[in-house]
């Protein structure tokens, strides 16, 4: 087990932070170290069935949530995206599709304007642009879990995504990137599993370019009382059962549901993002607060 602990865990131990403060793991109380280890194990065991479970738990609605996130981002070609805790690549693939279609439209518009050029010139400009179907956009998928990255790479190969995509093993609390590098930083359904959220937010601030955008898609709190009761019922009665039936892992999905309840609500997360230095921080509730998209800018 000790061999499987992530690099950051080893670093923390070296720094003498072996027995960290009390943290929560679902509804249990654990040390910081233990939390990281246990979360790593959770995702290690669910990695292969991650996508299937997402579909069955949310009845496929998670796809819509991720699409909405992409529309909100509205990336233009040339954008450099860092997708943290991006594991199986859902956001990364959507980004590539989006940028590709925007680029196509751009090229079409350019061609329309080239009505007065000679055929030779049109041919040349078309050639030049043809090999740039993504318009220099790139996405880096960073995840702390090797298994999740493996599944992601396999998926990419299977679906035919190769250009503009790279996979990096890294910890959200200590990103292996330089300052001021990325245009957009996203973390979809990942920040809940980060042990020190404030550190992750600070790292996000660090690696973003000035003017860059932070986007966080995460389960949040439902304020509507009736809906909240139904949601609780579904979460605690149905989801772990699905987990056992489909993935053979009750405990991991029990953890999932509990971790959602322990995660700070919308306003609190907004305050934490502001504390990290972001401006124009705002959130959008999807499905009455079951999911929320938080957005902030590094200005």
């Amino acid at each position: 087990r000790a061999l499987l602990s992530p690099p950051a865990g080893a670093l923390r131990a070296l720094r003498g932070l072996a027995a960290g403060p009390e943290m929560h793991f679902g509804f249990q109380s654990v040390t910081e170290e233990e939390r990281r280890e246990r979360i790593y194990q959770v995702f290690e065991s669910v990695a292969k069935k991650y996508d299937v479970m997402n579909d069955s738990m949310t009845l496929g609605i998670h796809r819509v949530w991720k699409d909405i996130l992409m529309h909100k981002m509205n990336p233009s070609p040339g954008t450099l995206l860092l997708d943290v805790a991006g594991g199986t690549g859902d956001i990364a693939f959507r980004f590539i599709n989006y940028v590709r279609s925007v680029r196509e439209r751009q090229l079409q518009r350019k061609l329309k304007h080239h009505q007065n050029l000679s055929w030779q010139e049109i041919f040349e400009s078309y050639q030049k642009d043809k090999f740039n179907s993504l318009g220099d956009s790139q996405v880096v998928v960073c995840d702390i879990n090797r298994e999740m990255l493996k599944v992601g790479k396999q998926k990419a190969q299977h679906l035919g995504y190769s250009e503009g995509l790279s996979w990096v093993l890294g910890n959200a609390e200590e990103l292996p990137f330089d300052d001021d590098k990325f245009d957009v930083y996203t973390i979809a359904f990942g920040i809940r599993n980060v042990t020190r959220i404030d550190l992750a937010l600070q790292e996000a601030y660090r690696v973003l370019k000035p003017g860059g955008r932070f986007l966080c898609l995460e389960f949040s709190h439902v304020s509507n009382p009736l809906l909240s009761r139904l949601y609780d019922l579904y979460s605690f009665q149905v989801i772990p059962v699905l987990g056992e039936v489909i993935a053979g892992d009750w405990k991991s999905y029990q953890y999932l549901v509990e971790s959602i309840r322990r995660f700070p609500p919308q306003e609190e997360l907004k305050a934490m993002i502001e504390d990290a230095g972001f401006f124009k921080v705002d959130y959008e509730n999807l499905n009455f607060g079951i999911v929320a998209i938080h957005s902030g800018f590094k200005l």
Partner: protein
């Protein structure tokens, strides 16, 4: 516990793009490591509506004096102004805003601060044009007051003011129909209507209108009608130098003058008729 001391802490925060008003191009060295361990008062977030006025000087890191930081609104204004340059090519879209942000050294993602339909860009442009018009009219008024220029008759004044304002659209004329349609979206109507009415108000003010009766409304309604119709004509005008549009404008203003003359004539005729009838009635009763 969040301390309410916003101004000094913002200086410490030393944000990357919100630069000091006094210090145009130097980027504040952001040492993130020293900032991470601030457990005491975190940098606060000021409500957007308050433009940040001059603050007492505060010595930040490295002994640098930090005075006024620009607010988010001011930064947004700068981005939109920079984006105008790209409108002829990209239209009133988020792409133009993204290009504008790039020229300021910001990431293209900064365009996400604005609506994807370019509403803010258009409203910003209209507001800038109105401001330019105001300044132009104020300058002219000063010249008249100093006796260096003749006071124009009303119809000429209105004609020149509307022409000057419409000429500002010429660089963007190709994409202006798109802008007009966006301004008519329900979401934007309050703001666009506000800008329109204040511009018309301005023109009448500098024209010397001091009416306090119903004339105030009719004058503004008439001029709004003239402005809007001329703008629409300009969209379809392909004559050299838009001379068709200016001729149209001249005719409309002349019509308005005639109408007001006719109206006052009708009024005086009406009064005369009433007096005549009264006299006849008195005669008959006697």
């Amino acid at each position: 516990v969040r301390c309410q001391q916003y101004p000094p802490l913002r200086a410490l925060q030393a944000s990357a793009a919100l630069r000091r008003a006094s210090d145009e191009h130097k980027k504040e060295p952001l040492t993130s490591s020293s900032q991470q361990h601030f457990d005491s008062p975190p940098a606060g977030h000021q409500p957007e509506q308050e433009p940040q006025g001059p603050r007492p000087s505060y010595t930040g890191q490295g002994g640098q004096e930090s005075e006024d930081y620009e607010s988010e609104e001011q930064l947004q204004h700068r981005i939109l102004t920079a984006a105008l340059e790209f409108v002829p090519e990209h239209g009133w879209t988020a792409e133009a805003i993204a290009e504008g942000a790039k020229t300021l050294g910001l990431s293209v993602a900064a365009a996400g601060m604005f609506h994807s339909d370019g509403s803010e860009l258009i409203l910003h442009f209209v507001s800038e044009c109105n401001t330019k018009l105001s300044e132009l009219l104020k300058k002219e008024q000063k010249l008249v007051q100093l006796g260096e220029a003749e006071k124009k008759p009303i119809d000429e004044f209105l004609r020149d003011a509307v022409e000057a304002r419409l000429r500002m659209l010429i660089p963007y004329i190709e994409k202006w129909p798109q802008a007009l349609s966006v301004l008519l979206l329900p979401r934007n109507i309050p703001s666009s209507l506000n800008l329109l009415t204040s511009m018309i108000d301005d023109i009448w003010h500098y024209a010397g209108d001091q009416s306090t009766d119903f004339n105030w409304y009719t004058r503004r309604a008439v001029l709004t009608g003239i402005y809007n119709t001329t703008e629409l004509v300009m969209m379809q005008d392909s004559s050299p130098g838009f001379e068709d549009t200016w001729r149209f404008l001249e005719n409309r203003v002349a019509d308005a003058m005639t109408m007001s003359n006719t109206a006052s004539q009708v009024q005086s005729t009406g009064e005369a008729v009433v007096q005549g009838l009264m006299g006849a009635a008195v005669t008959v009763s006697n």
